[in-house]
């Protein structure tokens, strides 16, 4: 296994950590929708930054990739905004 694969594994471990922490906070703030939404915002922000760094390290970061992560992140944020009754 070369260093590229090691780096990739580290990246995905970091992503799992981001998801785990986000899930823990989301559960912790059950019945507190504003805090849950802040948790979603933080988790999605971390996810987008992870995507940028992951693709940059693999020399595959492009405007298309950046836009894709941003759009998907916003979609997820708005999905939660709709369910958590967050008014924009």
């Amino acid at each position: 296994m070369n260093s590229h694969h090691h780096l990739r594994i580290i990246h995905y471990i970091l992503l799992t950590f981001i998801f785990t922490v986000g899930s823990a906070f989301f559960l912790h703030f059950e019945y507190y929708p504003k805090y849950q939404f802040i948790t979603v915002l933080a988790t999605v922000t971390a996810y987008i930054l992870w995507g940028f760094s992951h693709h940059a390290s693999e020399r595959r970061l492009s405007w298309g990739v950046i836009t894709e992560y941003l759009l998907l992140g916003f979609v997820v944020v708005l999905m939660f905004a709709a369910v958590l009754n967050i008014r924009l």
């Binding site: 989301f26 836009t67 998907l72 979609v75 939660f80």
Partner: protein, 309 residues
Amino acid sequence: MSLYEQFLPHPHLYKHGHHRRAKLLHLPALASYLFFLLSLIFSISFTSIHLPGILGYATNINFDDLVKETNKRRVEQGLQPLAINSRLNAAAASKGAYMFTHNFWAHVAPDGTTPWYFFTNAGYEYRFAGENLARDFNDSNSVVEAWMDSPSHRENLLNPNYTDIGFAVVNGTLGGQETTLVVQLFGKPLSPNYLATVPSEAATAENARSVSQPAGEKLTVTPINNPPALENPAASSPAGQILPAVNIFNASKGVTLALGLFMTLLLAIDGVYAIRHRILRLSGSTLAHLGLLALAMIGIWYTNVGAIV
């Protein structure tokens, strides 16, 4: 443009020499999902404000069930059930009206008015006092369950120092949204003979508080200009009378889960295709996207309606 290309990965190479995802996962499609969700949220806001009869109020919350559920949990813990107190009911109603009138939802008002003001204003001189608040729930049991799930509210609900309970379930418009507020007050009077309490057959529960006034602590009351009363009857009304035409929470949940599932399926198909054909795409990580969407759907699935404070 074939239907195949909309839903499935492109089987042939494109201009930059790379296979591409299904068109419904391309950037314009993602942007359209974003626009759809924005439209949904703004439509809910608009309908809530301008067409209140459609979204309506949550209405299966009622006084008797709240008392019953609260006291049930107290009895289960070996505690005495609480007695309904008419002055605490009046204090809770005043607090509910005050929140609608002053457009806030919290234990302490923006003008500094504390929960204890409403106790004394209703003529309830207390030795112990507490308050629990909830909003946007669909039924009484869910409200009490939510309080029981929160350590601070549970502590109030199972506090042996309380002897009396009062409730208000009030509909109104808060921050431009129609909502149902539940105010739950606990107390123990300074003098046992001071207050007239109403024994209740349903008094098999007690309420929790997230704010309490401990015994012997000096009460701080911030004077307010307007008495906490139903200043605008149109702004708030007793709950349990208006049935919503649409349960907006369930509708939003269904729509977002459907969209999430749709995107997840497209990505999963793309991922399998890419692995089988050993394709390296110049796009975001399919595995990471799938993880995010799966997590989002699980979170949305387990999201509860209602909030407490």
